[in-house]
């Protein structure tokens, strides 16, 4: 059976199966040996010698280990001597696979027999040392064998071999596990003996697979406290590892563990400070990167990410550490092109997001001087993603960014969103994504706030400066936000008008309006006339509230110019003219002249709309311009009537046109609408609107409705009948209104 183990034809996996069978048999053999010796049939010493007569080395050593186990149990010789002998003799197997299994067997049978502290096999004073020595030696030899495996056999099977090797790694790692379970390994011992020895072996084996696995093992197997205290030693090994070793994973693991450790028990934090964990990690990473010039950027950055995470968790109060990490990262990246590697950029995003998540306050991040520098190394699209992340973070935490400096910094960070990056014109940007991004920028603008108006103004200036660089595609999204932000400030100023006196107050609504004007102008050049028009009107209204007539007039002028020059679409014109009329109606600061000019314009434009119904509607809307329900509002009844009559004319014309074109009269709803306007002004007490006029109109409508070529229009009919009901209702209500209505004869 044991001789079968000498085969070299089996793959490690199959060999393992064979080994397990042999192992079972050896267990039985061991029992047998033990029985024999306790019965006194032969002494263990003789047995120990006897098995060494076997001619083949592998079976011999398996037997030797088996008897050795019995020997230790019998306590006829000190465990340490037997173990030492066994581990020495095992050198006879230099074949990697067989050697590994043999030593694994040795490790397995000796596990419970180590002369550890408190163990029944404990010998004299230094026996723990012997135990450690034994395990270490076995470990070192196994590792050597394991490393050597890669050189066995032809070159072409290398990959397969490496795979097989990693299947065997647990055999090696088990030793470290055993080591960690030896009671006698205290911190002192670990620091002085165990760790240096292991590391020496790890470094010297010069094998990537092994180094990676073993470092990982060390980190996993031994307690955190030990790591903390031996950080320097442990870390000093990293720069010496092979270039291909995935240091980042290992180091990250270590840092993760330690930061978890720190998090789990706050009382150990002083220890971290005492051993200067951060400084050590930082310098170790520096050295690793230095030692491996070929290391891909992604790994380096990953390292920094882990370090950053560690810092954030262990020293959340040390912002300078964070900055330091970022600075180091910048240094690493400097002198290189923008990163093309997607994984690397991903890592940078992680790197940059970490502080955001931790501090949940962008302001903190803005204090990190290296933060934007790191961002500079991202490619455009990633910069955008990052910017979105930043904005989202702000949104989530409803952070207020409250100084212009910070705003400046912030916009510097998110400049990927704010403007097109030089040179590259990404046409393939998904429209929806783009909107999403710009919307978030717009939202961000609303988050800017400072109590101090002066500072606020500065903020606005800064924002303006940035967003004006955004180019035609972005402005429609961002400008409105800015405008409303500014208007908000205006309203605030206006609210405390009384307190602000004196010439030297820098923040005046006027100034803001100047800024606004510029801003909207930019938008108007985009061109985006409808939007700018609305904004102009908004501004005009605000200016109105601030009693700044010239400003308001200017805005209106701009709006009209826009209307004239840019708004060509008839539908848009309709909307625009209604907007203008609506706003104008609310304006109360204009002098008669200005007002006349504006109202005249508005009426004129209304009449020039393309479609008759639109014309009609615009014109009757204009009538409101002459009747403002304020105390000192304009109440020019004549002009109102004029407008309404004109509207009627147009409605008539529209009807005729419809008749001519289609042979059927158009809808009479226009008439009904005008009737409603009549009723409105009638109620408001416009002397020019007489009940007879209304009466006439009603009759006209009735006739029209009963006309031959009238098409039945249920909605119009319903509209009319409800209007009539209203008249009826007002009549019945009595009072002054009732009296007024009395004259109207509702048929």
């Amino acid at each position: 059976m044991l001789s079968e183990l000498r085969t070299s034809r089996l793959s490690p996996h199959k060999y393992y199966e064979l080994y397990m069978r042999a192992f079972d048999e050896l267990r039985k053999l061991e029992m047998f040996f033990r029985e024999e010796t306790t019965r006194g049939n032969c002494s263990v010493v003789d047995l120990y010698e006897l098995v060494q007569h076997a001619g083949n080395v592998l079976p011999r050593l398996y037997l030797l280990c088996t008897v050795g186990s019995v020997y230790i149990k019998s306590k006829e010789a000190p465990a340490k001597d037997v173990l030492k002998d066994l581990v020495e003799m095992s050198r006879g197997i230099q074949h990697p696979l067989r050697g590994l299994f043999l030593r694994s067997y040795l490790s397995q049978i000796s596990r419970d027999k180590l002369p550890d502290i408190g163990s029944e096999y404990e010998g004299d004073a230094d026996s723990v040392n012997d135990a450690i020595e034994f395990v270490l030696q076995n470990f070192i030899e196994m590792n050597k064998l394991w490393v050597r495996m890669q050189h066995q056999g032809p070159q072409r099977d290398k990959e397969k071999r490496e795979k097989e090797r990693s299947e065997l790694r647990d055999l090696v790692g088990k030793n470290l596990h055993v080591l960690s379970q030896i009671e006698g390994v205290d911190l002192e011992m670990y620091k002085e003996t165990v760790l240096p020895r292991i590391l020496e072996q790890v470094v010297n084996c010069k094998d990537e697979l092994a180094q990676f696995y073993l470092m990982d093992c060390i980190i996993q197997v031994f307690p955190d406290e030990y790591h903390l205290q031996t950080l320097e030693t442990l870390l000093s090994a990293f720069p010496q590892l092979q270039p291909g070793v995935d240091i980042k994973t290992v180091l990250s693991q270590l840092m993760d563990r330690l930061s978890n450790y720190a998090a789990s028990s706050p009382e150990v934090l002083p220890e971290f400070l005492q051993v200067e964990a951060f400084a050590k990690f930082s310098s170790a990473i520096g050295k690793v990167i230095e030692a491996q010039p070929d290391m891909p950027a992604v790994s380096a950055i990953t390292l920094y990410v882990s370090l950053l995470t560690f810092t954030l968790r262990v020293h959340p109060d040390r912002l300078d550490y964070v900055d330091q990490v970022l600075g180091a990262c910048v240094k690493k990246l400097s002198g290189k092109e923008k990163l093309q590697d997607s994984r690397a950029t991903k890592q940078i995003v992680a790197l940059l997001s970490a502080p955001l998540e931790k501090y949940s306050n962008i302001v903190t991040a803005l204090e990190l001087s290296n933060y934007p520098k790191v961002m500079d190394h991202l490619d455009n699209s990633t910069t955008k993603v990052m910017a979105v992340v930043i904005i989202q973070s702000i949104m989530k935490n409803t952070t207020c960014v409250s100084t212009s400096d910070k705003v400046e910094a912030l916009f510097e960070l998110i400049k990927g969103l704010i403007k097109d990056m030089d040179g590259t014109q990404d046409d393939d940007v998904d429209e929806e994504d783009f909107k999403e991004e710009q919307n978030s920028v717009a939202r961000l603008i609303h988050m800017l706030y400072n109590e101090d108006q002066e500072e606020m103004l500065k903020i606005i200036c800064t924002v303006q400066k940035h967003i004006l660089r955004g180019g035609p595609k972005r402005l429609p999204f961002t400008v409105p936000s800015l405008v409303f932000l500014a208007l908000k400030l205006v309203r605030r100023l206006q609210g405390q008008d009384g307190d602000v006196v004196g010439e030297d107050v820098p923040t005046t609504p006027k100034k803001i309006f100047q800024i606004l004007n510029q801003t909207i102008e930019a938008l108007y050049l985009v061109p985006c006339p409808e939007l700018s028009l609305r904004l102009y009107l908004q501004c005009a209204e605000a200016a109105n509230d601030c009693d700044l007539e010239p400003v308001a007039y200017e805005f209106f002028t701009q709006a009209f110019i826009l209307y004239e020059e840019e708004i060509a679409d008839s539908k848009a014109q309709v909307t625009a003219i209604h907007l203008i009329i609506g706003t104008l109606q609310r304006m109360n600061i204009f002098g008669v002249e200005n007002r006349d000019t504006l109202t005249h314009k508005a009426t004129g434009y209304s009449a020039k709309l393309l479609k008759k119904p639109d014309q009609c509607r615009a014109v009757y809307a204009c009538s409101h311009l002459f009747w403002v329900e304020d105390q000192d509002g304009v109440k020019d009844g004549e002009r109102v009537l004029l407008c309404l009559k004109r509207a009627l004319r147009i409605a008539n014309a529209a009807q005729q046109m419809a008749n001519a074109a289609r042979g059927s009269s158009g809808s009479i709803s226009l008439f009904i609408e005008i009737l409603n306007k009549y009723l409105y002004f009638f109620e408001k007490g416009n002397p020019q609107i007489t009940s007879s006029a209304i009466q006439g109109l009603i009759e006209l409508i009735t006739t029209e409705m009963q006309g031959e070529n009238a098409t039945s229009d249920p909605s119009a009919e319903a509209f009319f009948s409800s209007t009539m009901r209203y008249i009826q209702f007002q009549k019945q209500k009595g009072g002054s209104m009732g009296e007024k209505y009395e004259t109207i004869k509702a048929s």
Binding site: R6, E49, Q52, H53, G55, N56, V57, L58, R60, E88, M89, R91, G92, I93, Q94, H95, P96, R98, G99, K144, R148, Q152
Partner: protein, 304 residues
Amino acid sequence: MNYLMGAFKPPCNITITFSDGKTRKQVSVKKENGKTAMVPVFQSLETISGEVSIDPVQGKKVEHTGVKIELLGQIELYFDRGNFYDFTSLVRELDVPGDIYEKKTYPFEFSSVEMPYESYNGTNVRLRYILRVTISRNYVSNITEHRDFCVRNYSPVPTMNNSIKMEVGIEDCLHIEFEYSKSKYHLKDVIIGKIYFLLVRIKIKNMELEIRRRESTGSGPNTYVETETLAKFELMDGAPVRGESIPIRLFLSPYELTPTYRNINNKFSVKYYLNLVLVDEEDRRYFKQQEISMYRLLDTPASS
């Protein structure tokens, strides 16, 4: 029938017994016919004594011209089989000429016999000690009977026993250094040593230690050398790398070894060698042979 047989059978039975035959240590010895037999062990300068009893077959008488017992030390070379060379020959007369009618016993004693050589049973040579009783008769052939015994001589622990240490190699291919703790071993000894690999450029499959016996017989042009591998002991499995040291621990007790014999009576020598063999993956063998000298240490319980 009985009568007929009687004509060819010796007319008497001769038995030789040693005086301390019951208590004396015995060893097994391979006889010519392939069977093993237990024979008593003596060493040089011991007194060999005992009795010879002659028991005539029922109803017969043995006429003789004298009865003698000889102690012979003989060397037999197999290329010259049947021709014994006696290097020791001692004679005791047991009886004067006469007739023997019934069983008669004669005591004998050879005191402090010098037996410088050990019994040996090799491939080409045999060295043996016998006691031979001869009943001399007229007209008919003498009646003889012999009894083997074994001689083993013990040596003291040698005062000088240096280790064997040597560095060997093939240039740019293999350099090893090996060390055996001693150059002289007793028969139940353990060979302890180690092999240190200084340079390995060949793919070694395994390494063995062989114990070889070289028996040379004859002299001059008629020298026959026979080499026999008594033990093959695998030391290492697999290919070592530079700097590896492989331990050796070989117990000699399981092997049938004899002490080293140098030029025994100018007839033969037996020498022992340790042969370190490295086998590479193409089954080429690289070896280095070292002579070791064997000696017999008196068995005391402490010496094992």
